[in-house]
Subunit: 441 residues, 2 copies
């Protein structure tokens, strides 16, 4: 007997059981259908790209995480996000595209980081971006959250809030304090407010090099609260505001107006001045999304506006706005907290069971009729007794079985059994089609 290899996969890789995979695919399909309902075009870029092209911009953390290797003479890398491939694609196919170019891509990306809870090395990102040919109207900044609003409504995983800010507000405010180079560091400290309290935050700010006389302005700024309109009004009233700051405030006002126009209820979004997004290319509107009952998930959908998507590949200056759902992570979180319960593992609505060989022809014909009516249908062709066959039906969790024996074949009927309540009725194939089509399961 040959030696066996343990059939294992690497940590940090998600692999689901069929019942889970069905639920994952339902989420995937929901997101895709909303993206398409807004006219986004599909894109599918290669998993493997030339390192020279993919890493034109990268550095630091990204460079360390990337799966990079030599094959023949080529220095290759696996894509680590869908934004860089989009930039490369738009630069390469500029003349074949129509702008504004709205594309979605929902594919796996790869990051070889140390695996930890909720972190994956291979995961799906579900991205939409809108790229302007020259300029891109601010209304698109409002359309993006309106789309995400529809996505999360349709996913049905509970109340959510889209948080919105504008980088120009942060840039203008901290710039006027002479602290432009410390924005992200300061925001990280401010983020600990609830956890460590105002005094400790103050101490950390000073330790990080913020002059003491500027800390109160920062703490005042960050404590601006109230409704979205009240926050905008407070921002407009700020004395120290420079031009970039005012531009950011007016953009934020225009974008939130647009979001209301596009049907978003007031409680579905919130201006949050602490959102900056780590990536250095966001230049205007930025978003994060929280599932209200699960702040521990972190942001499940983030993105923003950038000025120059394709700078590393072309002199053309293409502004854009985009957002991404980290589906693999979100799914694992929903699964872990019971917000998603894997269904019984059946894609079929009905399982046709011929009781014996002689019943196979009528069973096969009934199955064809079911499928022709759009009903996904499995047939059990194995030998064995009814007990074995019904055990299969029970384990795979199919909602209905249609049992066919000698009597049924002779009378052109099936014994249609509702597997949930165990009731069974002898009906014609046409009647069975009607029952199955009207059943909600």
């Amino acid at each position: 007997m040959q030696e066996k290899v343990t059939p294992r996969i690497l940590p940090g890789f998600q692999e689901l059981l069929p019942g889970e995979q069905i639920r994952f695919n339902q989420m995937y399909d929901t997101i895709r259908s909303v993206y398409e309902s807004f006219g986004f075009l599909p894109l599918d870029t290669p998993v493997i790209e030339l390192s020279e092209v993919l890493l034109a911009k990268a550095g630091g953390e990204t460079e360390k995480q990337i799966y990079r290797f030599q094959k023949g003479e080529n220095d290759l890398s696996l894509r680590f996000d869908l934004t860089v491939p989009l930039a490369r694609y738009v630069a390469a196919h500029y003349n074949d595209l129509v702008f504004p170019f709205k594309r979605y891509q929902m594919s796996k990306v790869f990051r070889g980081e140390r695996p930890q809870k909720g972190r994956f090395r291979e995961f799906y990102q579900c991205d939409i971006d809108i790229i302007g040919g020259e300029e891109l109207d601010l209304l698109y900044d409002a359309e993006i959250p309106a789309i995400i609003h529809q996505v999360f409504l349709k996913l049905g995983i509970g109340k959510f809030t889209i948080r919105i800010n504008n980088r120009k507000i942060l840039g203008g405010f901290f710039g006027s304090l002479g602290l432009s180079d410390k924005i992200e560091q300061i925001l990280r400290i401010l983020d600990k407010m609830e956890k460590i309290g105002r005094d400790s935050v103050l101490a950390e700010l000073i330790r990080s090099g913020v002059p003491e006389e500027k800390t109160s302005a920062i703490l005042d700024f960050i404590s601006i609260g109230g409704t979205n309109e009240q926050i905008l009004s407070s921002l407009r009233g700020m004395a120290a505001a420079d031009e970039q700051f005012r531009e950011g405030v007016e953009e934020l006002a225009a974008v939130t107006d647009g979001m209301r126009l596009f049907g978003m209820p007031e409680d579905s979004f919130r201006i949050d001045l602490t959102i900056a997004r780590g990536l250095d290319y966001y230049t205007g509107t930025v978003y994060e999304t929280q599932i209200d009952a699960h702040p521990e998930f972190g942001s499940v959908c983030s993105g923003g506006r950038y000025d120059n998507l394709t700078g590393y590949y072309t002199d053309k200056k293409l502004p854009g706005i985009g957002i991404s759902i980290g589906l693999t992570r979100l799914f694992s979180q929903l699964l872990a907290c019971g917000l998603i319960v894997p269904e019984a593992s059946s894609t079929a609505k009905v399982l046709v069971i011929p009781m014996d060989r002689a019943s196979v022809p009528f069973a096969a014909a009934a199955a064809t009729d079911f499928r022709d009516a759009g009903i996904a249908t499995d047939v059990y062709y194995g030998d064995g007794g009814m007990k074995k066959k019904m055990k299969y039906a029970g384990k795979c969790g199919v909602p209905y079985t249609a049992i066919v024996g000698e009597a049924e074949a002779a009378s052109r009927t099936v014994a249609l059994k509702d597997m949930r309540d165990g009731t069974q009725q002898a009906v014609s194939v046409e009647k069975a089609v009607e029952i199955l089509k009207n059943s909600e399961r």
Copy 2:
């Protein structure tokens, strides 16, 4: 100005323009929906696996083609097919699965071969397999081609023929001649019959080590022709037949009977004694599929029956049957010969165009109504004159535009324009919904 990187991808990788991608996705969705209509369960295994696990069985060509690399302490490989990951999955999750286990996986696989016309280094395989827990009824060998028949009917790319054979017939026949170890070599030579003629084939057979006195039996065997029933009858009448041979013939007869039972017309399949399939694990039924008008495509869908899927991972002996469509290659062939014509690149059925800022609220409301009715809807939010906006509409190829100006907003109507014939009518949003829903495009 920084130096620019050329935004290129590697040869042998398929990347499509949006209009092509839409058509590709339609094919992908069609295949998936047929697979699901037969009750197959979705699976999505990792792209990256441990080399030790993935290459347990591989060797020779596979080992050379594989993308393999070190990351940290791990020796990793990209999957080169979907069968090995299935074997690994079934072995690992045996206790969580219900058998017969019917799964589909439609994902990219990776083979770093020298790129040539029609060969890809990264391509989609669309696989179905049925794995028996202990045994697997022969009727499943008939169900597989019946599914593929439905797939190619629905793809609508012309008449096709599923060729079928049984490895036991080949094994029995060549075994009785003492040529078991030369089967594939002999079949490769026989395959050249049309090209180089009978005499040259004869010479090559002898050169390859086939004793001269056995060549006429081989040529007689391979020339068996006629209808499917005639071929079976000739095979049954062969004197030299050993037990394995007879078993193969009876299996083939049972499977073709089943295929008829499952609705396949007689001219949709053909027994072809020259089909062996290269992989050494096929043990019974084998299939290939040809698009009749395009023999140069080669087999677009191949597979067969195997005895022991998971031998490298577990002592359990799991028989199965499976088949695979190489979608990336097929798509590129269909595109090249004009059997697929990329549509205009629009996922939207209608583009709403507000003529000015003041019309945006009514335009956005109309777009929401369209989407709520299930109509994919794009909105052009950019500034600029109508000429610029209509140019966008024309270039993206959306079937309809709904123009909204001051008059339309006031009267709650849209100017619905059929972009094909240029006709335009003022209709209420409800009426527009009705027209759009009933339009076939």
